[in-house]
Symmetry: D4
Subunit: 249 residues, 8 copies
């Protein structure tokens, strides 16, 4: 413990075994982490139930397995996003309790199932192709101790499907909205609810969607004031931010 | 008349004053316009009630006035888009019957008020700042002989305002939708009606709207299949296309 | 039927088994769909002969087959765009009547061959590489009950080929123009005809075509006023919009 | 009241003066707003202390004054963003209680000063040029009933200034971070706190900042998972989202 | 022959078997090609030695072979650009005289080896990776009847290599310069010679070269006034333009 | 004269007043210009009738006048492009013979009116707004000793106007085509003529023209092989390149 | 002094007036700056002769004057970049010794004229329009204690002018190269010298220069390995980096 | 040797076997390289220990091997960047002493291990995915005779890890910082050290990172004045520039 090493230094000063001038010099050479302990403590409290996370994409199965196994030793929940079935198979050999959430392309290790969230996190998506991103948000929010409800295939061109769910939506404490193509859904949802909306542009589309750029720009320009945005396809980030909001005491 | 000069050539051949070979050579050197008369006739029929149009933007008041006066001699309707009040004043001195439509920033000369359109052209806009573009579409469609209804300030973040007009909207034969910022409105309207929707992105917005680019991309990626798009702020073009559709026999 | 459940509520009120106040409360909790029946009826009328559509791209053969079979049960025409031959083979096993239109990369189920369109839909394309997109438009328009004529390989650098077809083109009630590279063809065609032109930029080209962006920008800036634009490579959308226009009574 | 008109309909049915079938027909023609009352009620509850807002930019002083005066009649707080001193002068003549917050370029009408927020909203900015955007966020959050603390001129190139405030920052319930140029500050702040961070890219910078694009992209790619982003220079939006988060019960 | 059918019409008029009015009517319905013969004749003269060209990229070997064989029947030179060895093998089976220029990725059929050019076409390239594009220009210019000299690997960072060739360069009648990365070479070459320079940006590079965009923009902004530019990697276009210039009488 | 100073060095060596080793050392320290004389001579021959040129834009009237007067001392033609009437007034005071070409926004000093060009330079433009750029090309080509013909207002949406000029166009030895908006004109012209076409995108347009980007991309992707491109609005560059081509012996 | 306050804490512990545990608690609440003193000392040593800097652009004359006067109290050199003559007049009233470097648009206060640099900083620029940026680099480097030589108007299209200076250039210890338009100069200079080259793209140009983007991309893709790049028009940054390099012991 | 051939010419002049006029003519035709010898000598001195370099990417194993073997004959160090294990295997067969640095994807031939650098080159990277680029910089700097220290995984979202290394960092003479995603790290490092920082944006990231563009723009807009930037993923360039700086006498 860092405070301890500093306390020891003060003890030595008090006992006279170290002079104040020498103590100043020693303090000066201590690494930053020893000084910044307040922050660490503070975070530890907040982090209960937070999963350790790795991005599977671009890593070999054995790399994912090795990192996942190491993180699993911390004792909490674990999450590998954008992971395929071969990566999962490798993880499984090392961490028996790991599960694969296929739709979300996520490897999941759930040990702590306490509900830390104060309300419901709603996850809304426009088209069926947006579901993998939406599910990544769902898995992340669940692992972080939230009750999650999802509303899929409620794109703006069939507005009645969305409106049919408006009662349920207004019960959520925070809403995640995933949409590709024109990315219009967060604006409409934002107008229906009075809580924060996290918008996730997806790379779904072709041509002038420019890999999600159209949806991203649309969401940033939302005429609904309660919308903020994360990176294209960043279901994890949306789930993370929504969880923090929902866990606020 | 072109046909006349060609007919004369045939007469000369018939009379023997020109040989067939010489006639072929003469024909070869006639300008295209003399040959292509069919097209001109064909278009004249379609053009009844079509306004002669000038873009006021970037021209001096006297230039606008001079061109407008020249076009006015053709006898039909006249339209100067993106015109300011000084340009109008200059036009007014030369063309007494010209009027100024301030909201639309348009100078209008209406002589032919026949209704050529088969149904209603609906013009929908998202925010109050989109109204100048919407009004340009309205003026254009009216001058081209259409009955026009407008639905303003029905942006997607307050979807109930739009839905309140859905009955009226479904009576239109073609719908123009103007929206800036995220440009989501055409998708929602497209889902509510079963007729062609002409989407007009506007340059309304700031930051990541990039002068209308966000709205443009959004509309091009619309998940509603009945949407096609014109240039940013091109209210005139939308009014023109909608009029053509509405005038189809 | 939704009207029925509401009518029942009124019956109960009339019979006195439900008080007006309770009825208001019950109404308040009915899902939107129960209330919005007007819209659904209205659309059903318009939708005669409209195909049910799926985007094949990015789906496995078995997914395409499953969705196609489900849609086929609705009884009308069916269409899977951007489908390859393996996807077709899978569909064929489940839906015997399905056919593969190879040039258009489309799986087609045609049961209703009524002609709903009032005139001819012309489909024009610039180069041979634009044909798959043009054919997607052709197939879509045909399935939606239109008479279609196509004019291929009439790019602007050989303007005489296009001009040779101008008489035929002017007979169309709506024209679709597909072009990649500089995307100039819609402007030229737009000047030759007096009807609405739907422009489809294609991703054909290399280098500074930026996957169709050059053609898209060119078409949006068309100096012909009767041109509106759909997304890059969106032959389906163009066929759909053109069909709506052509079916207008 | 909408519920009232519906209740009357039920009364008439009960009394037998309207048959159930006629009632269904009448209901069918009622505007959407009459049916959707649930939503309105729901929102009214959430909206306590929410300011009515207008964007001053691009409006004349008399337009701003007229709209502001109209909104002021609703009885709550009022806010005109991106307003200059001439616009304020015009408002002042109509609404005596209005004040001008020069740094924030905002006209403010504060009648309800209840604190609705549960904790502190921290507003952090990188350079002195970012202050107008930051102040817009501050004013918005204050008008929405939050306790706000600001930390200015703590850019990442002088990281010690930011670190000097870390204790204070960790006390916030939600943090807004405004930065132009490279937009790096939200990532660093995001790593220091365990609560949601709303990042606001500003258009401060020149050359390759491309009017805030560099900062926007940087923030969207933040390696800190607790960051979400609003539009360039959108201090209002950040203040609004942060307020919603802070008011969550 | 078109002139023939028109001559026949005049003959009929002369013989009195067709009246002048009927002749005008018949002429009106003749396709454009029948009228526009002047252009065709004119071009034929210019086209001596011009190769028939196909773009191999994106076509199957059998498609390339079929088109190439058809073009070969015209009797002149033939060229398939961006062709691989499998495409060549297919062509070879049908057109024995075809050869493969590997560096240029071109299938070549040379029957007319007349020199039509008035001087030398110089082809300069910056790095070894630019050679395929440069060779495409070389092959094109050679097939079009030009004497070609090439100067490879003379990039601007080793300016002495380029300067060592300045005497030879100044002997050229037109210069093609191919360069990727920063695309600076055409400016330097443009300053060394007094003749037209055709600049070809190549997609060589990585990162901020953005597939040749950096080179393209650089060349368009060349401070040398004698530089014009073709599309990224368009060695064929550069060779074609240079040939036209060099063949000018 | 440079050759002279080197010849003197050799003389000294021959006379024995400088040893070979010293001569090598002296040569080593001579500035490059002394060595590179061949190039200068070579260029002087080519430069007969070439105007000295300054870009007026961004300079004060007195700056333009001073530079123009200095260049005028060289004895040949002079040209200041993008110059306004105030700049011209200042030039006029110092150089009596200077004239102002208003449409071209150019200050011109013509002393050498020899015709150096071998044929006609044709300058074609799409719309009236493109004329300033086209006129800049005209003035440049005239000052460089070319016979110039212009064809204005022949945009592609009215293809018959262009076709009416095709005979005249085919007489040109090189063609300059200026067009804004979709930039389609060079492709059509390129297909009509058999000579080099220099395309000049103009910044005419709005919205998705992005200050000429749409036209630029369109021209770079031209399907006509005889087109090369210069920078947006660069009428001077096009006139310069066309002149070089036309002057080729 | 910070160390002092910490030393005092140790003294109190030694004297027994503060217990070790209390000391830890107090330390925990000290601001970071009190702990991070090592860094400050370290920098102070390096900073000798470094100017205090403000960006004049976007500030009022009185703001610039106030900040400049405050910085002037620190006793070293002072610099206000992108300052106009009105800003200078305001500064002059408060700081008599301030001078205005007009070409560089800089207000300069030079008190320390020690030469800290080990060699020569060369500043090269392509065109006369690049000189303001180049002069900003010159002023910065001079104020930071360097000997500076400049080489102006040595653009790549007249390569002989640059080569004429190559001997002088190779004497520099670090080279700054400023260029707009195609930004090719750093690559050529990079090939001529063996020392670090700092490239500064300028916004000089028009059309496809896109406000300096073309030059920026060109420089980032330089084929010379000794080139690194700063922001568009960032003469100050280049002067700063070059100074750091030149001052390295 | 070049000087030699020139000296011979002077000898012949001195002996009278060549007249001064003939000598001038001969000199005029000598290639530039013969004249520019000064530069070559100059560079040779600087180049001690500089590796000969090839870019492996896009070359076949046998091409890489052939070039590497040829360069190896020059006797110094050799480097093939972006090389895979198959390329290494091919090189190994020809150059026994070559080694493969897997993390850096580099083939290395180290014969000269003299330390030419005056101090330490520090290489810092943000995330584990940035390591290949960082290692390319490390290998380059080592091969160029520098002592290198690396600091990996010190991204800005965990600022304490970076701060823990600040003492070590401040000992470096030049610092390379590699970061993808938001590219914020160079700004923070730049504020911690007083020496030149070379920033390397990496293509690590997804969505709105646009293959490294976000990081690149961020770094160009760094608020730390001591930062200059190289191309995306250009670890080699950064290592090269840093080495030049560190070797400055």
């Amino acid at each position: 413990m860092n405070a301890e090493s500093i306390r020891k230094l003060f003890e030595q000063v008090r006992r006279g075994s170290v002079s104040p001038d020498d103590a100043v010099a020693r303090l000066r050479h201590m690494p930053f982490e020893d000084l910044g302990f307040a922050k660490v403590d503070h975070h530890r409290a907040l982090r209960a139930g937070m999963p350790e996370v790795i991005l599977g994409q671009g890593k070999t199965p054995s790399q994912v397995a090795a990192i996942f196994a190491r993180l699993a030793k911390h004792g909490g929940n674990g999450l590998a996003t954008r992971a395929d079935s071969r990566q999962f198979a490798a993880v499984r050999k090392k961490v028996r309790a790991a599960e694969y959430r296929e739709l979300a392309r996520a490897v999941v290790l759930r040990r702590d199932s306490t509900i830390y969230g104060k309300g419901i996190v709603a996850v809304v998506s426009a088209g069926t192709s947006d579901i993998p991103v939406a599910e990544e948000a769902v898995v992340t929010a669940e692992l972080m101790g939230n009750e999650v409800e999802h509303f899929y295939d409620v794109g703006v061109a069939g507005i009645h499907r969305l409106l049919a769910s408006r009662e349920a939506l207004t019960r959520a404490r925070v809403v995640i909205v995933c949409a590709g193509m024109e990315g219009a859904l967060p604006s409409v949802v934002g107008g229906l609810v009075g809580v924060p909306v996290i918008a996730v542009p997806t790379s779904v589309g072709y041509g002038a969607s420019f890999e999600g750029l159209a949806a991203l720009l649309g969401m940033l320009n939302s005429c609904a004031s309660n919308v903020s945005v994360v990176n294209i396809d960043n279901g994890f980030g949306a789930g993370y931010v929504a969880s923090l909001i929902n866990r606020l005491p």
